[in-house]
């Protein structure tokens, strides 16, 4: 906690407050060094790396199959998306495609995981701004999905559901009914969150006009996912470069226009409804057939490199894999959306109050496991 008194140009007595790394609302071990002039933030500098475990170095020391569970621990809130992105990247390298049944299961599970990630985002974002009850309601829905995960693959958070070439587990009987029940009454629950927040004048006051970023700046900063769509750019990798079985379903891409915290909030709420819509379509027509593609047990991709990215709940999660023909990747680079999105915190925060810094960290929906890798 450094309290260096610095005389600045316009001799405002500027105090440096260090927010984090163990601060209740920084969503993990992020330290933000705020230069405050009274309540107003002059400058913010992020200090990260507290959770650095060297995932990319591990990628070079583990075989392709062994690296998958390590990736669950990167963005531990959307573990299924991490798993899907990597498995599809390696499948592309092996020029193998997962059988349709596996692809449908993958889409359902990834969309369920997107809902859990957005629910956790909404819960923590709301609790940061004082709406404690929304947190509890979000976690009630999230619990339903985690039960489905547990029944399907045996784990709730770090699921390790997919394998390279398809999925490991057959869907348990009763899976479709459980998912149908969830998807049927989930939109009503989202309406409940809306009654508590969307038209609430305090929530509107706290989020409108906070953390504004224009579309051009957002693209220049490399923002992706709901943070980008909040500024009006209707770009989603599920539509731009469809993967798994996304081209079989119709769903919309919500986008805001003002690019402030309120728009990103509305975009994510709408995305939850769209995910429920995708799941309801996917659950009805899961094709029969094998779960794993025909390929050798030992994965030895050809020499070369590949880049494959998917739409994780936080943004574009990309994998750049260089293979030298052996069973271990020569280089496994992960393009983490939260890492790039966090860069724009400095630009969004300038000029706001301390209370807004908390709102802006919430709206960027960052996960420190993914930032620090």
């Amino acid at each position: 906690m450094s309290t260096k008194e610095e005389q600045t140009l316009f001799d405002a007595s500027e105090i440096t407050v260090s927010m984090g790394p163990q601060h209740p609302s920084t969503h993990g071990v992020l330290q933000v060094k705020l230069k405050l002039d009274g309540e107003r933030v002059i400058d913010a500098e992020c200090v990260i790396g507290y959770l650095h475990r060297g995932v990319e170095k591990l990628g070079e020391a583990q075989t392709y199959g062994q690296f998958v569970p390590t990736l669950d621990r990167m963005d531990y809130i959307a573990a299924v998306s991490n798993c899907l992105g990597y498995c599809e990247a390696v499948e592309k390298l092996l020029s193998v495609t997962a059988p349709p049944r596996a692809q449908y299961i993958r889409v359902i599970m990834t969309e369920l995981n997107r809902i859990t990630s957005h629910l956790l985002w909404l819960g923590t974002h709301a609790i940061d701004l004082g709406a404690v009850t929304v947190f509890l309601y979000c976690f009630r829905e999230r619990e339903e999905i985690l039960k489905i995960f547990e029944n399907y693959c045996g784990a709730r958070l770090t699921t390790h559901m997919f394998r390279i070439g398809g999925t490991q587990y057959e869907i348990y009987d009763g899976f479709q009914d459980q998912v149908r029940v969830f998807v049927k009454d989930f939109p009503k629950k989202v309406d409940e969150y809306e009654t508590l927040l969307t038209e609430n004048r305090i929530w509107i006051g706290r989020t409108r006009g906070v953390g504004v970023i224009s579309a051009k700046d957002a693209i220049d900063m490399g923002l992706t996912g709901p943070s980008l769509r909040g500024s009006g750019v209707e770009w989603d990798i599920r539509k731009a470069k469809p993967y798994a079985a996304y081209s079989d379903f119709e769903f919309d891409i919500p986008a805001g226009e003002a690019g402030d915290t309120y728009d990103r909030y509305m975009v994510r709420l709408e995305e939850m409804r769209q995910s429920a819509r995708i799941i309801s379509q996917a659950v009805e027509k899961i094709p029969d057939g094998p779960l794993m593609a025909k390929m050798s047990k030992i994965i030895k991709p050809p020499i070369g490199d590949i880049y494959h990215s998917i739409e994780s709940p936080k943004g574009e999660l990309g994998y750049y894999i260089v293979s030298d023909g052996s069973t271990q990747a020569y280089r496994a680079r992960v393009r983490p959306p939260s890492f790039v999105n966090l860069q724009s915190l400095k630009r969004m925060v300038a000029g706001h109050m301390v209370a807004d810094v908390v709102a802006i960290i919430g709206t960027l929906d960052i996960v420190l496991g993914e930032i620090d890798r």
């Binding site: 650095h52 990319e56 020029s95 990215s309 990309g318 860069q343 620090d372």
Partner: protein, 242 residues
């Protein structure tokens, strides 16, 4: 990325590390023929080389590539597509200008820098800097690669896309690539006074900066046992601390 086809001006590079670095051509051609020719004698007509397994690089060209060739003739090395992903290899000298051109041209305006990373090729002591670019307008993704020696600096593209700021800081943190005129080039993930660049191939995974741990955490790093083992494996290894 080990290029199958050797490029004229690039130093000779073995294709697959696991296989003994055999000069291509003559030895491989001889193997499939049942009667082994006397060693050293050139076979009359080498049989057609066996169909190389796995995907190959198809030459790729597009109006954008032609524009680059015409604008940056000397810099342009090669453009190919591998597994359907288009890539351009350029020299490192005028990288910032090339990137500005790539962003501002109206053929394929690559206005979004998806990722910038590096790959370490210790055999030729080179870093391969990889830029993955994407154009929202054309929904196209292109990869631009360039190679620099381990000690050479390279120009930063954070002037072109502000995304590159942290991405380059991470490449510096993990590989030690020096970027010219970067806003504040210092370590981003590791502590400031960390010694060594972890993602380099010669940085043994079991090893950590033992000094840093002892100085800051006041404990003897658990890796101490591994350090001995690391030395045992390849004796020549010099730990950053000694």
């Amino acid at each position: 990325m080990a290029d199958e086809q050797k490029d004229s001006q690039q130093p000779e590079k073995p294709a697959e590390p696991p296989k003994p670095a055999a000069p291509a051509g003559e030895a491989r051609a001889a193997v499939p023929k049942p009667p082994p020719p006397p060693p050293g004698a050139k076979p009359a007509a080498p049989a057609a080389p066996p169909k190389p397994k796995g995907p190959q690089q198809e030459p790729w060209s597009s109006p954008l590539v032609d524009a680059i060739k015409e604008k940056f003739g000397g810099e342009f090395i090669k453009s190919y597509s591998f597994l359907g992903q288009n890539q351009i290899v350029v020299k490192k000298d005028r990288i910032a200008e090339i990137m500005t051109f790539l962003r501002d041209n109206d053929i394929v305006p690559l206005n979004y820098l998806v990722d910038e990373t590096a790959v370490h090729w210790p055999k030729t002591e080179e870093f391969e800097i990889v830029y993955i670019l994407y154009s929202h307008a054309k929904n196209e993704r292109i990869r631009v690669k360039t190679r620099i020696k381990e000690w050479e600096p390279i120009e930063s593209v954070s002037g072109v896309w502000t995304t590159a700021d942290w991405l380059e800081r991470e490449v510096f943190d993990m590989f030690g690539v020096q970027y010219l005129n970067h806003p504040n080039l210092k370590r981003i993930l590791l502590p400031e006074d960390w010694v060594g660049y972890p993602l380099r191939k010669d940085y043994n995974i079991r090893l950590q900066d033992v000094e840093w741990v002892r100085k800051h955490l006041g404990i003897d790093s658990g890796q101490k046992y591994y350090v001995g083992e690391a030395r045992h494996e390849d004796g020549g290894y010099v730990t950053p601390s000694d």
